[in-house]
């Protein structure tokens, strides 16, 4: 009976196993068919959801831990240091050790804090994070949900994370936290505009909001090349606004270590602090992932029109490698921002948004619309 099950699973695949690296939908479709043959559609859906949930939990933890490690190593190399080097070869288990430490730490109950909101805040941040990464296309067919309004959904959901930050700042009953949370609120409200507008520039070019179709539209060339300087400007603005959106330096107003000690998460300890910490890094990953999806072709290999041999070679690299490669490229740039620049002041932050980014962005959207109307893009 059991052997039958496994052979039936394998027989569900119509193509060689290594093909799944290039098109993941072969695997998902196969598993889906296999499950549907075994049980009712309801249970199929339940089991598939559980599998996806577990996979995302794992992915979340792995990406978070890896990014923390990467950030430490990157900043260490920028600063002529070695970075973590004690636990495991090249210190690769350092973040795991830190996680264990944070798990064992005491969760300090703040005396005059609003207990319910105080405990709720980290979960809101984490849940919002999960909702966002579920919509990301990691590779061809490696996609949990492919909304037809994918970008719209991501924008809408990702800005909900600020509720967690505001709650954390408010409920901690700490003056530094409150200032940090208020700053963060002002920051996200204004930078959400820039992110949306710079992505709309690309949506105009792609003609769709569905992430898979946006990537498919970049088969003949990435949007950053196809959309002339207009796409380039949108990319730069997106990078700036995205860095601001994730509360990372030079826009880490909400934390502002040298001013507000730790800002909104001053009073958090142990695993609750780790949630905020992880969420910050996943946010960075999300921002970078969207940047690579919208501007750099997502999982689409680097193609040059007319160079058939070159394009074929590029096709041999699996799509998820392309996706993660591009994403970590963007993450590296964001890290470089953080470790090079001094922090802005809160009013300069808003000036930068309302006086520079927003007007340029609006004009840019018009230019892009004009380019698309005239058909001048590649």
């Amino acid at each position: 009976m059991r052997i039958d099950l496994i052979t039936s699973l394998f027989s569900a695949f119509s193509e060689p196993w290594w093909k799944i690296f290039y098109d993941f939908s072969i695997l998902t479709r196969g598993v889906d068919e296999w499950l549907r043959n075994l049980m009712t559609p309801f249970w199929t859906v339940v089991i598939e959801m559980v599998i996806i949930g577990v996979v995302f939990l794992l992915l979340y933890a792995v990406i978070g831990l890896f990014l923390v490690y990467a950030e430490r190593k990157v900043c260490a190399f920028l600063q002529n240091r070695l970075g973590p080097n004690r636990i495991g070869p090249y210190g690769i288990f350092q973040t795991i050790a830190d996680l264990v430490k944070l798990l064992f730490k005491e969760l300090i109950a703040i005396k005059n804090a609003d207990r319910f909101l105080f405990n709720l805040a980290p979960y809101i941040v984490i849940i919002v994070n999960f909702m966002v990464i579920s919509a990301l296309p990691f590779g061809k067919g490696l996609h949990a949900i492919d909304f037809n309004i994918g970008i719209f959904y991501i924008l809408a959901v990702s800005s909900m994370g600020i509720i967690g930050v505001l709650l954390a700042g408010w409920s901690s009953n700490n003056k530094y936290s409150l200032i940090g949370a208020m700053r963060s609120g002002a920051q996200i409200v204004s930078y959400e505009l820039s992110i949306a507008l710079s992505l709309i520039t690309i949506v105009i070019l792609a003609g769709t909001m569905q992430l898979s179709e946006i990537i498919e539209a970049q088969r003949s060339g990435w949007f950053i090349f196809k959309g002339h300087f207009s796409a380039l400007i949108a990319f730069v603005i997106y990078l700036i606004a995205g860095t601001a959106e994730t509360n990372r330096g030079p826009f880490d107003m909400a934390e502002a270590e040298s001013e507000l000690t730790a800002g909104y998460h001053t009073e958090y300890s142990g695993i609750k602090f780790a949630f905020f910490y992880l969420a910050e890094y996943i946010n960075m990953f999300v921002v970078a992932a969207i940047a690579s999806t919208m501007f750099l072709g997502g999982w689409m290999p680097f193609h040059v029109a007319g160079w058939e041999g070159f394009n074929n070679v590029m096709d041999y690299i699996p799509p998820f490698v392309w996706f993660f490669g591009k994403t970590f490229m963007v993450i590296w740039i964001i890290m470089l921002f953080k470790w090079t620049f001094p922090r802005l002041r809160i009013d300069q932050l808003l000036t930068l948004e309302w006086k520079y980014l927003l007007p340029i962005n609006l004009v840019n959207v018009l230019i892009m619309a004009f380019l698309v109307l005239k058909g001048w893009h590649f």
Partner: protein, 159 residues
Amino acid sequence: MSSIIQYFREIFQGIWSLLKGMRVTSGYFFSPGKIVTQKYPNNRKDLVMFERFKGEVIMPHNENNEHKCTGCGICEINCPNGTIEVISKTIVTEDGKKKRAIDKHIYRLGMCTFCALCVKTCPSNALAFSQEFEHAVFNRSLLIKISNKPGSQLMKGIE
């Protein structure tokens, strides 16, 4: 019009200045040879301190377990913090004379500020600085050290 030019010039100058900073930091990122960190406890074996390094005050002894301290107490007087305490005793030399010698030369490392006045003012150069710098101990009483080794004697020819 000029204000518009000014607006764009500001933007480009700003971006240029940011790129200059990023060039420096990314330059260091791609040159791993410039890393200055020392892996401290791992490089203990080949870690050489400078010869004048002020680790702690010691009393050098020669191979016959002899030191140069006459017990005059000048180091004790010169120490600003009361780090050094000289306890002397009277001994009878071979030719029957009574003579002062140290019983204990107590050095309280926890109080020492490494001003080097004791080493500098010692008339018989009995004290010196060692290169030892790993002073951390679990018990404060371990920081009270006795500089002269047990059974040691005054070196011949030093009064």
